[in-house]
Symmetry: none
Subunit: 139 residues, 2 copies
DNA sequence: GCTATATAATAGTCAGGGATAGTCAAATTG
DNA sequence: CAATTTGACTATCCCTGACTATTATATAGC
């Protein structure tokens, strides 16, 4: 739907829910798990009569800008799971290809970091991910 | 099953368990002892409704063999410098391209590993490098 | 007319439940 | 004794519905 609408849709929650055959609150769940800022979406909404939800996708015409945006949104720590979510999004946005995604996941997996103290692992992972992303902006 | 399915299957854990007449948790044991990375498999899974397990067999062609050979030749530790030499060789031998080389160097640089205790850094670097190389053998 | 209040029409929150996969220590096997 | 098997317990994912919060509009009181 977002693709069809040029990167931005405005729609009522109930309409979305009936379109996907789910309860309205499911829409909130999906938005909070899938259409997050980290995944490059901006969501606004308004309650009351004439309420609505707008979902905007970040402009990803400039891969460099997109990567920089993501780098700044990554904190000092990141879990393996969250890291993989990021990497999958890079593939979706054509910032990297599948092989590169595999490399990045391999480099940031708990398996690769098994020798790092568990309480430091998420810090190291964040540093590795950011360093790899930075290297992509240099090309 | 993997042979029949072109090197990759996706199936539910319970289905696998009933097919082999064992308890579901036995599936995890077998996967962790038989379908390891070292033995040439990649496994992913997802919990919750509609959960699944996917098992992929890694490439066993000559490029894969070459990489496997290299992996076994890398010890438990590797310096940043020697790591870069390896990576440059991969480019020379067309195992990876320049972007992939940048990613690999970024992931294994001292800068990325600044949070790792210095005496552990070369171990972690070796693990990351090997893990990345292994991922390259995936179809 | 203007403000205050009630009502309707929305969206948000959260705890719980069902369906899965993961972990781990004890029991069993060979 | 090492490898395997088991099952109780845990973790995760998605879905649901009751309840709450917010906004617009209609109505009432002055």
């Amino acid at each position: 739907m977002i693709n069809d609408m040029d990167g931005c849709i405005e729609i009522q929650r109930n309409e979305l829910a009936s379109r996907f055959n789910c309860v309205p609150s499911q829409i909130n769940y999906v938005i909070s798990t899938r259409f997050t800022n980290e995944k490059g979406y901006y969501v606004e909404s308004r309650r009351g009569g004439g309420g609505y939800i707008t979902i905007r996708r970040l402009n990803t015409d400039s891969a460099g800008d997109y990567i920089m945006h993501i780098i700044t949104s990554i904190g000092d720590k990141i879990t393996q799971h969250s890291c993989e979510v990021f990497i999958n999004n890079f593939v979706d946005y054509d910032v990297i290809d599948n092989r590169e995604a595999m490399l990045m996941k391999a480099a940031t997996s708990d398996k690769a970091l098994v020798d790092v103290a568990p309480d430091k692992r998420d810090d190291v992972r964040a540093a590795i991910l950011k360093n790899m992303l930075t290297s992509l902006t240099v090309i």
